[in-house]
């Protein structure tokens, strides 16, 4: 019973990390209808900026979010304005390839600047855990889960209670109707890309608490982010949170009760099933 509870708790904690790294991907797809392959680049930039700030100034990763969030917003909005915007009426595959190119440029730049070595950072709470009865929960993972839930609440409130959120939802529903109603669509696109990128970079910052930092970091998690977004409903932030947690639990139960080697297979089985079911619904 203790083992089952431990595995469930681990699944929930891992799942909230999956959700956090997928929010930005879902938001950008919802508003721009763009599959952002540069998402992996922003995740990777997040871990590198955080690691560098820690290695150079001893800055705590939690504090570094104050830098990675605005930096991510500025970089994301710039990428949208200078690159994505120019291709907005092109076939989707053009934008897809463009953003894939952005990812490759960032990855190779990181190789050139920092080399390919695995790096990691250590804080006073990196290896701390919290005992809850028979359960032992990792403090860094609890922190990331708290941020994930906080991010979900903040995003949901922003979308529902603010003018910007209303504009984002309007553009997501019908771009032309929103433009006719006076919504500055171009600016909304830049804001959506900026928020999505800021979320990705902050997720990277927090994930540096337990994952090693390499230029391949984004590749490791991009596919998992896609699984969560597809499973959660592409544009539904609440659905993404539930999907992330569900995927985390499914992976951990599979690893514990069937075989650890099948852990990552679960994600892709779920992705395939979700895509097939969506296709069937559409037909």
């Amino acid at each position: 019973m203790v083992d089952l509870l431990s595995v469930l708790a681990s699944g929930i904690l891992v799942g909230t990390v999956y959700a956090y790294m997928a929010y930005g991907l879902g938001l950008i797809y919802g508003v721009l209808r763009v599959v952002n392959l540069a998402h992996g680049a922003f995740l990777t930039l997040g871990v590198y900026v955080t690691w560098w700030l820690n290695a150079t100034f001893g800055m705590d990763p939690l504090v570094s979010i104050l830098i990675t969030v605005p930096l991510g917003f500025a970089l994301g909005a710039t990428v949208e304005r200078t690159l994505v915007f120019r291709l907005r009426d092109s076939p989707p595959v053009t934008t897809l390839l463009l953003l894939f190119g952005v990812w490759l440029i960032v990855r190779n730049a990181l190789y050139l600047i920092f080399g390919g070595a695995d790096r990691s950072l250590l804080t006073s709470y990196s290896l701390e855990s919290l005992a809850l009865g028979p359960l032992t929960l990792s403090i860094p993972r609890l922190i990331v889960s708290a941020f994930s839930l906080l991010g979900f609440v903040a995003l949901a409130l922003m979308l529902k209670r603010t003018w910007s959120g209303l504009a984002l939802r309007a553009v997501a529903q019908d771009r032309e109707a929103a433009a006719l109603s006076g919504v500055p669509v171009n600016r909304v696109w830049a804001v959506a890309f900026g928020i999505g990128s800021a979320l990705a970079m902050s997720a990277g910052s927090l994930m540096s608490l337990f994952y090693s930092v390499t230029p391949e970091f984004g590749a490791r998690f991009l596919l998992k982010s896609f699984c969560v977004v597809v499973l959660g409903g592409l544009t539904n932030i609440g659905g993404i949170l539930v999907a992330g947690i569900g995927l985390g639990i499914a992976e951990d139960l599979t690893a514990f009760y069937i075989h650890t080697g099948y852990r990552d297979v679960v994600s892709f089985l779920v992705l395939t099933a979700a895509l097939v079911m969506r296709r069937a619904d559409a037909d």
Partner: protein
């Protein structure tokens, strides 16, 4: 010959002529003997590639300092030519082709990592050029009937077998119980599978000493290891063995510490003494036991000589095995070129087959390439244990041990 086929052949002839001219221009006609390597100097293995370049260079500089390698009484300098394969297995073989065809390399030294070396060995085998491998331990590199690829790195299985030899030695000293309950996990790669084979080969028929209570693989670059560690906890083993590359090791040991596990001994194969590991996990890696292909504290004259030379030239304490094994591989190749009395590939190959270095810096102090293991050395590794506050101590074999191992309860 049709006009079409003629036009097709002209570019080929042009390329061959060009290659010949380039070779002549690059000094192929002088006394210099050229050897070469394609190393990962950028990309994901860049840090390790640099260690290999330094180790190779040191061996070449040593021989050149006395005028070069003696062939039939005449000293000829060695030139090491190195290209960057950018850690890309699709580029690496073509760089070796270039080293042979354009630069006139008479023998080759390997790059680093099993996948890259696996891609490289096709070239020397097809071209019939001696290839000295110091960067890939997997047995899959050394194929049936291999004549050209020589291995200066013992197989991955020896990491596992030496670890278990050490445990049996501790049992014989009555410092460990019999049988030991062993939980083993391994990454699902050639490296991990060979580690597992090494463990099984030793414990087979030794039920009085070992009881394997968990034997499970995990995927490389897994996103979480907590459920696996909970599984390890549930089997209540005495000993935890894992074979993992660095990113998985960091995540796995983090989960191990977070879940509050403890065993008599914990080993992650060759992982443990690296500086990057201390940076990521701090004191949590104290008392980890690891099997190493080389460590700076080995009490051999050649090893001390290497440490002094390396640290004088490149600075800082040498904490990794890579430059030492690279140095030894290059030294073996250069010695064989001298013994061959010729730069003909067949002569160098035969000299490598006959080579025996009795002053090796590798564990055991001896380097040769047995035919029965397809020309890959099969030396025992050395077992070290991380010490609190940094540093490592040799705990096995007994003739090199610096003190007893700390064993948990």
């Amino acid at each position: 010959m049709t006009p079409d086929s003629r036009t097709r052949r002209f570019p080929v002839l042009g390329l061959l002529l060009g290659a010949g001219l380039l070779q002549a221009c690059s000094g192929g006609g002088d006394d210099t003997i050229r050897i070469g390597a394609a190393l990962p100097l950028s990309g994901k293995h860049a840090n390790v590639g640099g260690f290999f370049r330094d180790g190779y260079q040191l061996a070449v500089e040593e021989v050149n300092a006395v005028g070069g390698v003696a062939i039939n009484g005449v000293r000829r300098p060695i030139e090491l030519r190195v290209y960057d394969d950018k850690s890309d297995a699709s580029i690496s073989p073509s760089l070796l082709e270039r080293l042979i065809a354009v630069d006139g390399a008479v023998a080759l030294l390997s790059g680093y990592s099993t996948p890259l070396v696996q891609a490289q060995v096709i070239v020397p085998m097809r071209r019939g050029v001696p290839f000295m491998n110091a960067g890939g331990a997997s047995k899959s590199i050394f194929r049936e009937g291999n004549q050209w690829v020589f291995g200066a790195l013992s197989p991955v299985e020896s990491l596992a077998s030496t670890t278990l030899e050490w445990l049996m030695w501790e049992q014989d000293q009555e410092r460990l119980p019999r049988p030991l309950r062993v939980a083993m996990v391994w990454q699902n790669t050639d490296h991990g599978r060979e580690y597992r084979t090494g463990v099984h080969d030793v414990i087979r028929g030794r039920e009085d000493r070992f009881e394997l209570v968990l034997d499970e693989s995990f995927e490389h670059l897994s996103s979480d290891h907590t459920s696996l560690i909970v599984k390890v906890r549930s089997v209540e083993a005495d000993l935890f063995l894992s074979d993992a590359h660095e990113p998985d090791f960091l995540l796995q040991h983090r989960a191990y510490v977070e879940q509050g596990l403890g065993h008599i001994a914990v080993s992650y194969g060759a992982r443990g003494p690296e500086r990057s590991v201390r940076e990521g996990l701090g004191e949590a890696v104290s008392h980890l036991v690891s099997a190493q292909w080389w460590t700076r504290a080995l009490p051999y004259e050649r090893s001390r000589h290497f440490v002094e030379r390396y640290e004088a030239q490149f600075g800082g304490p040498v904490t990794e095995y890579y430059p030492a094994v690279a140095y030894e591989a290059a030294r073996a190749l250069i010695t064989a070129i001298g013994n061959a009395g010729s730069t003909a590939p067949e002569a160098i190959r035969d000299a490598l087959k006959d080579l025996e270095l009795d002053d090796s810096l590798l564990p055991g102090g001896r380097l040769y390439f047995p035919e029965e293991s397809r020309l890959q050395i099969e030396n025992r590794c050395v077992i070290v244990q991380n010490q609190p506050e940094g540093g490592v101590r040799i705990v096995f074999p007994p003739d090199a041990a610096e003190g007893p191992a700390y064993l948990g309860s």
